[in-house]
Symmetry: C2
Subunit: 484 residues, 2 copies
């Protein structure tokens, strides 16, 4: 075992554990290192530098380096690397459309999404990057310090081309604070995970011009803006524990607004409706009872299920779900790079919503255990409502997602967060979701159907130390609710 945590050689954590240090960073929105006013001018400068990238939709045949394999029809890169678009045949026990075949992104290698943190004036700051991805709304969004592939990772004897990545690989002047494999979109990826890391550095680190130190509180402020904080940041940030376990910090969280309810629900003393053992038993029950058979098939098999391939896209005959398209990318900035790649483009925006309410005085959110085509472990926890409403046009009332109408008809006065955010722009083209948090009435039923469970934010945060419990949409929404 070659662990980089060498606590004995490090500044002591003092009275505050890691979670309390993150909590302090979350409570801080102005520091000598990072003033909010400068932050906005930095971000505007990055947009000017990087936002001139040109993204052009092109026919598949014009994509440099990509081709459809003759025997399978799979869309692959000539190098055999990156990712491929293949077919997946799925059998489930769902009552509406239980069997289908679909295109799916296959990317078995595990990459790293890493945020470097450093203490300035006693407060942890996160080294964030303004990064262009071809599928991003606004092109440039706030990203983790590094996004690295397994190839970057295992290339032991070569220098890495990913700035700061050395701190994520056994660096003597760094220590790991968060390190967990987490899943990505199960509707579009086959069993994909990325390694979510947060590493504290004790070196002097000079941010490059696309990089900047932000407190967690500043990142949460930016989460109130649409399409600014990217998905990779949201998932890594969600894994930063901000549970205050020291009694003096949590005994009395001040305030009677929703933000204070969220902080109290996150605290270690938050009393929950169910024990964590009960929650895990419920998820185990769902994983056992629900059925998910996954069979990888050649991409040309998706035709059996109404998927059509033209010169420019693979799409479903009903106009629902998503399209696979090809783009040509010409990046801007100092290092001008250009490449072609496929992207998955949903046909409409998604809806990811929490219903939240106090139970015995502590805010709980309603979580569902959701089965998705590409799930690694049958079901993961997901937001109360997790769907693309457009896919349900023409679907009988009885098969519409539970609680969808509750969300769509919510009293605007009870909506605590309501912002459009993008999913990963390196794989998805303008995959936008409406993230919503609704504070429902006290008399909203505490009883739930089989696949749903009320949980505190503290319970969800505890499970984030392990992989494949919370899906990426739920992790994003947890980042968002903490910005409410």
């Amino acid at each position: 075992m070659n662990v980089r945590l060498t606590a004995g050689q490090r500044p002591a954590l003092g009275e505050l554990g890691t979670a309390a240090r993150f909590a302090l960073s979350a409570a801080t929105t102005e520091t000598s290192v990072s003033s909010t006013a400068d932050l906005h001018s930095w971000y505007a400068g990055c947009h000017e530098r990087l936002g001139g990238a040109e993204i052009e939709r092109i026919p598949f045949a014009e994509m440099r380096g990509w081709r459809f394999q003759q025997d399978t029809g799979n869309l692959v890169h000539d190098s055999g690397r990156f990712f491929s678009i293949e077919g997946l045949r799925v059998r489930t026990d769902r009552s509406w459309v239980s069997n289908w075949t679909q295109p799916i992104i296959v990317q078995p290698e595990i990459g790293v999404l890493g945020i470097l943190v450093k203490e300035f004036d006693g407060v942890l700051h996160c080294l964030m990057q303004a990064k262009m991805e071809p599928g991003n709304v606004n092109l440039v969004q706030l990203s983790p310090t590094v996004q690295a592939t397994r190839s970057n990772y295992t290339r032991v004897h070569q220098g890495s081309s990913v700035p700061y990545f050395e701190y994520f690989r056994h660096h003597p002047d760094a220590r790991i604070l968060v390190d967990v494999l987490q899943s990505e979109q199960g509707a579009w990826f086959l069993r994909k995970r990325n390694r979510n890391m947060v590493v504290e550095v004790f070196d002097e680190v000079t941010p490059g011009e696309d990089f900047r130190w932000l407190t967690l509180g500043q990142i949460r402020q930016l989460l109130k803006e649409p399409h600014l904080v990217n998905m990779d940041t949201r998932t890594v940030v969600s894994c930063m524990p901000t549970i205050s376990s020291a009694h003096d910090l949590v005994a009395e969280v001040p305030g009677d607004d929703f933000a204070a309810d969220v902080r109290r629900s996150t605290s270690a003393e938050a009393k929950s409706l169910h024990t964590i053992g009960e929650v895990l038993s419920w998820l185990t029950e769902v994983r056992t009872r629900r059925e998910l058979l996954q069979q990888q098939v050649p991409l040309h098999c998706v035709a059996e299920n109404g998927w059509l391939r033209t010169q420019t896209e693979i799409s479903h005959q009903d106009g629902k779900f998503f399209r696979v398209i090809g783009v040509d990318v010409r990046a801007a900035g100092r290092e001008v790079a250009s490449w072609s790649q496929p992207l998955v483009e949903p046909t409409g925006p998604g809806l990811l919503a929490f219903l939240a309410k106090p139970i015995e005085g502590v805010l709980h959110v309603l979580v569902q255990a959701r089965v998705e085509a590409g799930s690694m472990n049958v079901a993961e926890m997901a937001p109360t409502v997790h769907c693309h409403p457009g896919n349900y046009s023409g679907v009988p009332e009885a098969f519409r997602p539970l609680y969808l109408d509750t969300v769509l008809s919510a009293d605007p006065a009870r909506i605590r967060y309501d912002t459009m955010q993008s999913e990963e722009g390196g794989r998805f083209h303008r995959a936008v979701n409406r993230y919503v948090v609704i504070d429902v009435d006290d008399d909203f039923p505490t009883e739930t159907p089989f696949s749903y469970c009320w949980m505190t934010l503290n319970q969800l945060a505890g499970l984030l130390a392990h992989g494949n419990y919370l899906n990426v949409e739920l992790r994003s929404l947890i980042a968002c609710i903490q910005a409410a």
Copy 2:
């Protein structure tokens, strides 16, 4: 959420939590309900009743209900249920034989392995079953209360044919104590898991003649015998927490023998070399760095890798690894049943060994993160040595498993446990493993290679609340070390 834990309506747990109640049961080997003398005569009676089963090796063509699919060569049941033998093509980054194709058991449905427990005279007792499985050494072994398939589980409106199974399905007079999905043999199964459950019953329960109440201490006594406690029991028992967290119970565990070292290492106060965060980070690192690409292929593809099918078996040309055979089974006892089925038969015994040593006064065991062909999550924790030594004949010295020679040449005076045990007799024919625990010298290096990590038994027990951390061989060995 429909959880069966309704603590308010139950006898209070009092001062002792679930873990302390299991610890008390583990410390008890004689009760008014279960005397050890009677236990042996009961078990002898079961053997007499059930042990007359006839298991006959037959050609594949004579197996009732099973056939080779024409297009794929897969060995399947006519009903499409139970399990099938298919092909798996594997690509890894191992230095010795990194790519291969092999037969593998595909059984995507999750079954239940459940032990019913009940308190008598203040001590938890486990309802154990003497059960015949065709592949068992000695045919009859001590099994959990129930082994049920998903079909048993979801058959809501029909009575179950599995005795006592009603207590594992939302029974008003029962409460769940353990409930977790755990993996099974990754070398022979593709991503197989079973649900490991322990349920406490408050009803009167009358054991049938093949059933009997045993304390955890009695089960541990029986684990000193070879081939008596079956694999399903070992994995469920390993998931019973026996961590004593109440200070008065653990402050001073008496005794200076190895058994006392084991109990101290299991206690909540056991100081560990690495924090649990460091351990999880290490496993995440292995899962990211190691490569495992799995491709399900038709069974006839295994011929490309030297697997040959005759009328009676599928085996490897080198005589290594395992064979797939067919058997006809005629059970004995009250309900005479008969059926045919395939079994996987390893070509030689396996070796599953712990190296253990005190670090700063607390016993640690050396765990490896092991990649197996059918792993769901790249790598799981495994015993220090986990191999079939016969498969390494002719393999260059440099590629033999680490620590194998340390185990094989161990001073007999340092061997604390050394017993042959069987793996699941419903799928494997005489799959026997030597389970060994070796108490190495203080000067044995604490430094370890990349894939290895020293852990306390308390840390391993904590991870057993989650699935896919500890492989089934490690869980078995944890059950065994607690019997040492």
